[in-house]
C-alpha cells in the first residue's frame, strides 16, 4: 500500500515537472494518465497545488536571503528560519548582527527578480543590489565580497590599509576609493567607475579604471568603453545609457531591469546601440518604446521577449 502510493507520487512528480515547462505540449498523454486511475489525479493536484504555493511564496520574497550552510541536515529548517530572521535584522540595521556574533560564517544576500535593495555593510560601505542579484559575504572579512550573479553598485568607504575587494568569477576588483558598478553578463563581467578608481584583475588582462571608464572583462581580454560618470548609477532610477554598445549587452541589462527574459535574434548579433533607455515606463507602453528606440521588432513569446529585425516594409 505504502509502496504503491509512493509510486503514484513519483509518477505524478514526473508529470508535474513536464507539465510545468512552458514548452509542454503532451496534454493528451497527460489526460490519459490522469484518467487511468483515480489516485493519479488526486496525487497530481495535491503535488501541483503544494508546488504552486511554494513558487508563489518564493515570488513574494522581496529580498532573497540565503542562510549560511551549516552541517546537520536534520536541524536545517529551524536554524534557517532563525538565520533568515537574523539576516533580515542585519539588512535593516546595518552591522549590528556582525558585532554580536561570535563565530564567523559566510552569508548571502539575494534579491528577487525586479526588486532593488540597498545594503549597508559593517564598514559603512553601501551596496545597491539590482534585481536577481546575489552577493556572498564573510563576516570575518567584511571588505571581501563576491558577486555571484546580477548587478550591484558599490559606494565604498576607502581604507588604504584594508582595500575593498569584489570577486566576480575569475575577475578581482580592488577599490582605490570609489563608487563603481559591477554587472555579471553572459560573456563576462562589466565594471564601470563613477568616482575614484578600481583595479581590475581578470585572467586575460589587468587595468586601472578611472571615472567614466567601463570595461567588460571576457575570457578573451578587456573590452573597453567610456560613459559619463553620472550615468554609472542611473540604473537605480530606471535609466540605462549606452555609447555604441552591442545589442546583446543592452538586452541583458533590459532583461534584468524589466524582469523578463529577453533574447536577441542571431540576425541582430552585429547591431550596436547608442542612447538612453527608460525602464520605468508603463508596461503596456514598454514594448512599443523599445521597438522604436532600438529599431527592432519586440516579439512577445509568453515567458519573455525576443528582439528581431524589423520587417523591411
Amino acid at each position: 500500500m505504502t509502496i504503491s502510493e509512493r509510486n503514484v507520487d513519483r509518477e505524478a512528480l514526473d508529470w508535474l515537472v513536464q507539465v510545468n515547462d512552458p514548452g509542454f505540449d503532451q496534454w493528451d498523454a497527460w489526460d490519459a494518465w490522469m484518467a487511468a486511475d483515480g489516485r493519479n489525479a488526486e496525487a497530481y493536484w495535491r503535488l501541483a497545488g503544494a508546488e504552486a504555493d511554494a513558487v508563489e511564496a518564493l515570488k513574494s520574497a522581496p529580498v532573497r536571503i540565503v542562510a549560511p550552510r551549516p552541517g546537520g541536515i536534520g536541524r536545517l529548517p529551524r536554524r534557517s528560519l532563525a538565520a533568515v530572521a537574523a539576516a533580515l535584522a542585519a539588512v535593516a540595521i546595518g552591522g549590528v548582527w556582525f558585532a554580536n556574533s561570535q563565530r564567523a560564517q559566510p552569508w548571502t544576500v539575494e534579491t528577487a527578480p525586479g526588486e532593488q535593495h540597498t545594503l549597508t555593510l559593517a564598514d559603512g560601505s553601501v551596496v545597491s543590489l539590482d534585481g536577481d542579484t546575489r552577493l556572498a559575504m564573510d563576516r570575518r572579512k567584511p571588505r571581501d565580497v563576491r558577486l555571484e550573479g546580477g548587478r550591484a553598485l558599490f559606494t565604498v568607504v576607502h581604507d588604504d590599509a584594508h582595500p575593498f575587494v569584489v570577486v566576480v568569477g575569475q575577475t578581482t576588483l580592488t577599490d582605490l576609493g570609489t563608487v563603481f558598478d559591477v554587472t555579471q553578463l553572459q560573456d563576462g563581467v562589466r565594471v564601470s567607475v563613477s568616482e575614484g578608481s578600481v583595479r581590475v584583475d581578470a585572467p586575460a588582462d589587468t587595468a586601472t579604471l578611472n571615472p567614466g571608464d567601463s570595461v567588460i572583462a571576457t575570457p578573451r581580454g578587456l573590452d573597453r568603453r567610456t560613459l559619463s560618470p553620472d550615468d554609472v548609477a542611473a540604473w537605480r532610477e530606471g535609466r540605462l545609457t549606452y555609447a555604441d554598445e552591442a545589442l546583446g549587452v543592452v538586452a541583458q541589462d533590459l532583461a534584468r531591469a524589466l524582469n523578463r527574459p529577453i533574447t536577441v535574434s542571431p540576425a541582430l548579433s552585429g547591431r550596436r546601440f547608442s542612447g538612453s533607455l527608460t525602464t520605468r515606463a508603463a508596461p503596456e507602453d514598454q514594448r512599443g518604446r523599445l521597438s522604436r528606440l532600438l529599431d527592432v521588432s519586440v516579439v512577445d513569446e509568453g515567458a519573455g521577449w525576443r528582439l528581431e529585425p524589423r520587417p523591411a516594409s
Binding site: 493536484w45 528560519l81 509568453g302
Partner: protein, 173 residues
C-alpha cells in the same frame, strides 16, 4: 507546423471561440465537474487583458485552462483547511477578518522560510535551475543552453528540486 506565424491578440480570441467546447471538455477532464464552464469563462476574461502576439494559441489556451483549474483546486484546498481550523469556537475571535489576514501572512512567511531552507539545503545547480525555471519562467531547453548541460540533466535536477520542496522521501539522493 512549428513555422506558423504569431497570432495577434484578436486572432487569439477567434481561436478561443473555435476551441471553446474543447476547452470545456478539457476542464471537465481535469476534474472540476460542473464548474468547467466557469473555468473557461475565467480564461475568457483573462484573455481580455492579454496583449501581443502568441506563438502557439492552441497550447497557450490549454495552459490557461490548466492554470485556472489549478488555481481553483488550490483555493478549495485552502478554504477546506481554514474551515477545519475554525470549526472549533475557541478559534473564532471577534475580529476574525483581521486575524485571518494576519494568519495568512504568517503562513506565507513560514512557507517562504521553509522553501528557501529546502532549496538552500539542496544547493546549486538544482536550486538555481529551479529558480530560473519556475520563478523566471525559462523553458527547460533555454536552461540547458544557459547552464551548458543536456536536457535530461536539467530535468533530473528539476526533479530533485521538486522532491525537496514537496518533501517527497525516496527522491533524495
Amino acid at each position: 507546423m512549428s513555422g506558423s506565424p504569431d497570432i495577434p491578440a484578436a486572432g487569439l480570441k477567434a481561436v478561443f471561440n473555435e476551441m471553446r467546447p474543447a476547452l470545456i471538455r478539457r476542464a471537465q477532464a481535469m476534474g472540476v465537474g460542473g464548474d468547467a464552464e466557469d473555468v473557461v469563462q475565467d480564461v475568457w476574461l483573462k484573455l481580455q487583458t492579454t496583449n501581443g502576439p502568441v506563438a502557439s494559441p492552441h497550447a497557450y489556451l490549454l495552459r490557461m485552462v490548466y492554470t485556472a483549474v489549478l488555481d481553483r483546486k488550490r483555493g478549495a484546498r485552502r478554504a477546506a483547511a481554514r474551515d477545519a481550523e475554525w470549526a472549533t469556537p475557541a478559534n473564532l475571535p471577534q475580529d476574525s477578518i483581521a486575524s485571518a489576514e494576519a494568519e495568512r501572512r504568517l503562513m506565507a512567511v513560514q512557507l517562504l522560510a521553509k522553501v528557501e531552507a529546502r532549496l538552500s539545503d539542496l544547493g546549486d545547480p538544482a536550486a538555481a535551475i529551479f529558480r530560473r525555471h519556475r520563478i523566471d519562467g525559462l523553458t527547460q531547453r533555454r536552461i540547458a543552453e544557459e547552464f551548458g548541460m543536456g536536457l535530461s540533466t536539467v530535468e533530473k535536477h528539476l526533479r530533485r528540486a521538486y522532491a525537496a520542496i514537496l518533501d517527497l522521501e525516496g527522491d533524495r539522493p
